[in-house]
Symmetry: C2
Subunit: 173 residues, 2 copies
């Protein structure tokens, strides 16, 4: 069965700094017309960095939720940027660490309405670089024992999808 939904027309409603918004005219596999609200996002890169049994997390206020979250270091790709380059940049900016990066997985966080992909890397051969967070980033670096991070995932205290996926994948290996 062909399940492809065909784009009839892309209609941009907003072009912003982080996201664009479209409401496309599309066609279902049976030819019926439909609308598709799509959030365009350039994609993200994130790094799972484990050293001496501790995972490097950052604690950061997230305006969308009105909460501080614990997450692995991550950031948005620049247009057409190699995700590994973005991952390396975000790791050093946020934590002051430099590392070799090995692809861990690609995460699709919200398939219902966004095209964002999060490229997750695992840090190897970690060494000290220079921390220089963006001027509008207020974040704390928290090295947390892996067992504690896993316990916080199981208890629901760590809720960020990329952090959960990265840590539990790491635990599988």
């Amino acid at each position: 069965m062909d399940t492809t939904e065909r784009t009839v027309r892309k209609n941009y409603l907003y072009k912003g700094k982080i996201v664009n918004l479209r409401c496309d005219d599309a066609e279902l596999p049976n030819g019926a017309p439909c609308k598709r609200e799509i959030v365009e996002h350039p994609g993200g890169a994130a790094v799972l960095c484990v050293e001496d049994g501790k995972v490097v997390l950052v604690r950061q206020y997230r305006y969308a939720y009105g909460e501080e979250l614990l997450e692995i270091p991550a950031g948005k790709l620049d247009p057409d940027e190699d995700p590994a380059v973005a991952a390396r940049r975000e790791l050093e900016e946020e934590t002051g660490l430099v590392a070799d990066l090995v692809p861990l997985t690609v995460l699709y966080p919200t398939p219902g309405y966004s095209n964002e992909k999060i490229y997750i890397y695992q840090a190897k051969n970690v060494r000290k670089g220079v921390r220089h967070p963006d001027q509008d980033e207020f974040l704390d670096v928290i090295p947390m024992p892996i067992e504690e991070a896993i316990a916080r995932i199981k208890s629901g205290a760590i809720r960020d999808a990329k952090t959960i996926a990265a840590l539990l994948l790491y635990e599988q290996n």
Copy 2:
């Protein structure tokens, strides 16, 4: 350190069927003004249903990615809907299964720009109900051996965040 970003004014740019979009005037903890692009989403509910060593997945075309994805059954909450009610509805609509639902975790898929929360439940005492997918849903139900699903997560073939989080959490227990 207080890291709270204060809302100065919520500015709605779009109110849609699936998402709303705002670009708020806000203030950083140091008082500096900033803009925050926020995708409002009512939240989602998803169900991890494992029976006889098989996890119930649905294969569905996702317009945002232009790909078919394998995911656990899930759907959007109606306004102010109890997530457990939505989870039960989506499970039966998409798979024809009825079950008792136990909360597994709450997932924050994209903290950078969306307020979506995905409430994930685990199905217990599973029995047959009546399958009735939405008219614009074309999906296949795929019962997949757990080991195969885990292998597909590790190989990167299963990429949906809620599905990865739910299955790997299940494996932890």
